[in-house]
Amino acid sequence: MKKQQGVLQQALALITYKKTKRPKTFTLAEMTKGQDQGVPMSSSGDSSNKQGLSNNQEEDKEQQQSENRKGNQYESQDESQNESHNKEQDKPSLGTPRRRRAKKPLSASQVRSNRTEGDKVRADIVSNLQLIKQLFGVPQNKDLIIREFEIGNKKRAFVAYLDGMADKQIINNYILRPLFNMERSDPQEEKRPGQLTGVSLGSVIETNDTKNLDSIEKVAAEILKGNTALYVDGLPYFITCETIGFDKRGVESPKTEGIVKGPQEAFSENLRTNISLLRRIIRNSSLITEFFEVGEKTSTTIAVIYLKDVVNPALVKEVSRRLTNIKTDFLVSAGMLEELIEDTPFTIIPTILSTERPDRAASHLVEGRVVIFVDGTPFSMIVPVTMNELMHSPEDASLKWQYTSGLRLIRFFAFLAGSMLPGIYIALTTFHREMIPTDLLIAIAKAKENVPFPTLVEILLMELGFELIREAGIRIPGIIGNTLGIIGALILGDAAVTANIVSPILIIIVAVTGLSNFAIPNYSLAFGVRLLRFYYILAGTLLGFYGIALALIGFVLMLVNLKSFGIPFFSIIAPKNKKSKDVIFRWPLWLQESRPDFLNPLDRQRQPEIAREWAQQDADEA
């Protein structure tokens, strides 16, 4: 863009966050099934379904390091579970991209991987023990447990695991005991001490998943996850056994998205549980889970889940591009990740849908969206979303379509009332008194006769009080917190009126605004609307309806300029797409034949034109 821009354009650019110079943003291209070979599909492919999810973690980490997807290569790796084979292929694939990227500052993971090359596992126990201890700072760090013992022909060995992260039952019964038993029951081993190999050890250890790792760094990563590392003197690698077993919350009912009809289970903090909840709903071999690690200090696992034969591959590529290019040290929640990957961080309207309901996440997966989990967060993030999805409730699908359509109208009203009602009230009472019915006007004037403040101060006082109650209600423990909301609002409102601090009609305005806010189904969006309220109050105070109209235009300009992972936030309305049967008015399920047009999914058809085939059959003949 040239420097000489119109003033209007510049102003527009400011309102809509459009920078004059900016890198090319991601837009979602249309794709068909034939095309998806061209775009590097994400790796782990089919194999992860066959072998369970955990197996792919290692591969995914490596992908993350390479940042250059070579789909076929990785798929072949996955198919062969042989770790040594894996190692051989690793080097060439890792080498080239890293060298090419050397000009750019290194990411946390790259720094780590550079260091790894010097941290190869040595073939003697003393130095390996030393390495592990050094890595975890053992004399000070009391969490790492190292159990040294001897197996076979007095061969020295040790296991290392993190206390609390690993299940001690598994370590005792399925790692240590078989190893000790091997000593007694396998006299052949004693005769040929040098022959003790990983293969034979692997068949002794009874845990369900083992890996041979030759990098101390990777071993440490495994230990940090809660796995147990076993080293036997003389081997050039560690054997890690899956022993993850820490205390976790079970599956409970949703806290923020409670509904009457429909499933009553929610995600929990445990990533594995969350993924299994999804898999229980979508029993489909093309449901892919990819893992990423973000956070230099926390190494938080992030799972990206999608349906391979539905989702637009470019979308998956974009998600993984964003995830792999995050440089941060600390990441514990989906909310933090949201800030790091959303398209326009300055908007107050969320462009990522956050849900704690597996059924909701599943329904979006099937539509062709991508679900992102952050380990330790009981919420999944769904991308991309549009305004309409934010206004939908998980109950919508469980209710009859007529009820749902009515409820959605209420929600859109709530959105408008929750953001604009106080602003409109101020505009009405200070600029447009002719619009109030005379009786009401005189009633308001009578009530306001003894109130010493202008309407703006009244509104701000009440809104402040209301916000205080809301904020305090969260902090105040237990039963008091719940009751405070109601009692506080009642007492505060009543007392304020009696004390002639506010006029009674204002209590109604503030209460309706507050109620409307709670009627907005999306928690983040409700927060946005809470802030918007003050924006409209300001506009209404300054310029009346004219100001509100200006403010609305500005807000809508911002909205239509938003993008969520390449999808215009106001899709279907602007830009106009193919009509959907599930936007504001939800048509019956059997009429919803295609997936959302703006997602450009590989498979557009949800169901044939006639979904209720039985209705066309002769009941007696069938």
Partner: protein, 438 residues
């Protein structure tokens, strides 16, 4: 990235400083103004006009408490307190000047945003109101749905009697007062907007509501004994209704204007025919004398079933107009208990009613033609179509030719319902004949 943020901050600061200057300047809190509900215009003594405002007070008790109801607390005459409102009169050179004069005494600005009634005294209306209607049409605060009333006597007295007896809400009281036009048809419901447009229109003249103050002197003392005569006509003027109790204000009849001057008034009965003619008659009871039993009456409730059909053309330079009305009527009462509702007799009854309406309508139109030459029916709208350009029509000057127009009327009546009684039986008693009395 730092540049746009800096720009944003800069724009934000500019907005913070300048927007309030441009905006809140106009803002006024609700209770910083008083809202005139009624504006009265009288002829002045020392200056051009006397303007009377009635505005609501913000005292407690108007809302919920029982309040003083009828006669307000002491000194109401002097302070002008009338049932939760205050009536202030000021002599000034103009209407808007009066508002500013009153600022000297009323501690809040008088706003005309919610004015519901504009009252002219008859004396003033007969001299011409154009000069004082103009600012009302131009001023931003005045709203088009204000009703235009011409009252006998002084507007000030009329407004002083604008009391609330049923509720405590003066604004509601005034609004519902005009709604009564729909129930009786004895007075038209004239909006300021329509009134002003008709003042300017080349195709018709204005009319207004006729009002008066009833001092209850037309309610004669009971003389006893004598049989009162039957009178089914309503040809009284406002303020003359023989009644007592309740509010003293009466809206009764129509004021006919020629240009901006009042020239006469239609009686309440004529007002009904006028409203039918312009299609604004909603419903009303009509009392007719029984054709077979003089001294007995029957009552019908009539309403327009279609909007009136008006046809007009020029025949040899003379305007010829046709007005056709279709009415639905229900029988409400037949005192003589004759079975007029019987299908054999119903045509006859319809004929009687049709004659009554046709005569009434024709006479009303004739009166406006001959007595005042004022086309309040706006027949000119139909005649205008006979001219090729508006200029030609304006040149023709329809308003002066109105009295030459030949206007024929036709009323079709359909009797629809007969009420709960069908073919009433005579009331039986020991005395011979036992005729019913009600």
């Amino acid at each position: 990235m730092p540049i746009p943020i800096r720009k944003l901050i800069a724009i934000g600061i500019v907005l913070c400083f300048f927007l309030p200057l441009g905006g809140c300047y106009d803002a006024t809190e609700i209770d910083e103004e008083v809202y005139a509900l009624v504006i009265g215009v009288d002829k002045g003594v020392n200056n051009m006009v006397r303007i009377t405002f009635q505005y609501a007070t913000y005292k407690d008790g108007g809302g919920g408490k029982a309040g003083g109801g009828g006669s307000d607390g002491g000194g109401s005459e002097e302070s002008g307190e009338v049932d939760g409102t205050i009536v202030s009169t000021v002599e000034a050179s103009s209407l808007l000047g009066a508002i500013n004069l009153l600022d000297a005494a009323v501690n809040r600005q008088i706003s005309l945003m919610h004015a519901k009634m504009l009252v002219f005294s008859e004396e003033y209306a007969r001299e011409g109101i154009a000069r004082y209607v103009e600012p009302l049409a131009r001023f931003r605060e005045v709203r088009e749905f204000m009703r235009v009333v011409v009252c006998k006597g002084k507007a000030e007295d009329f407004i002083m009697e604008n009391k609330t007896f049923i509720g405590t809400n003066s604004a509601k009281n005034i609004e519902l007062m005009f709604e009564q036009s729909k129930n009786s048809g004895y007075f038209p419901d004239v909006f300021f907007n329509d009134f002003y447009i008709a003042l300017l229109a080349p195709y018709g003249q204005s009319c207004a509501i006729y009002a008066g103050v009833n001092d209850f002197q037309h309610f004669p003392q009971d003389t006893g004994g004598k049989n009162p005569p039957l009178n089914t006509k309503q040809d009284m003027e406002p303020g003359d209704i023989p009644r007592k109790g309740g509010t003293k204000n009466e809206l009764f009849g129509t004021v006919v204007f020629d240009g901006d001057k009042m020239v006469g008034s239609l009686t309440p009965d004529e007002t009904r025919f006028f409203l039918m003619g312009i299609g604004e008659f909603r419903r009303g009871f009509f009392v007719l004398e029984d054709p077979e039993k003089p001294g007995f009456i029957f009552v019908i409730e009539a309403e327009l079933s279609k909007s009136p059909k008006m046809k007009g053309n020029m025949e040899g330079g003379r305007p010829v107009l046709d007005l056709e009305l279709t009415l639905d009527a229900d029988i409400v009462s037949i005192q003589s208990r004759n079975s007029y509702e019987n299908l054999d007799h119903i045509k006859g009854l319809e004929k009687i009613i049709e004659d009554y309406f046709t005569t009434g309508l024709t006479k009303t139109i004739e009166r406006t033609q001959q007595e005042w030459n004022s086309d309040i029916f706006h027949f000119g709208k139909k005649i205008a179509g006979e001219f090729q350009t508006i200029q030609e029509f304006e040149q023709y000057n329809w308003l002066s030719h109105y009295k030459e127009a030949k206007i024929s009327t036709q009323v079709n009546v359909n009797l629809r319902r007969s009420g709960y009684i069908y073919e009433a039986k005579p009331i039986r008693g020991t005395s011979e004949g036992g005729q019913g009395s009600t």
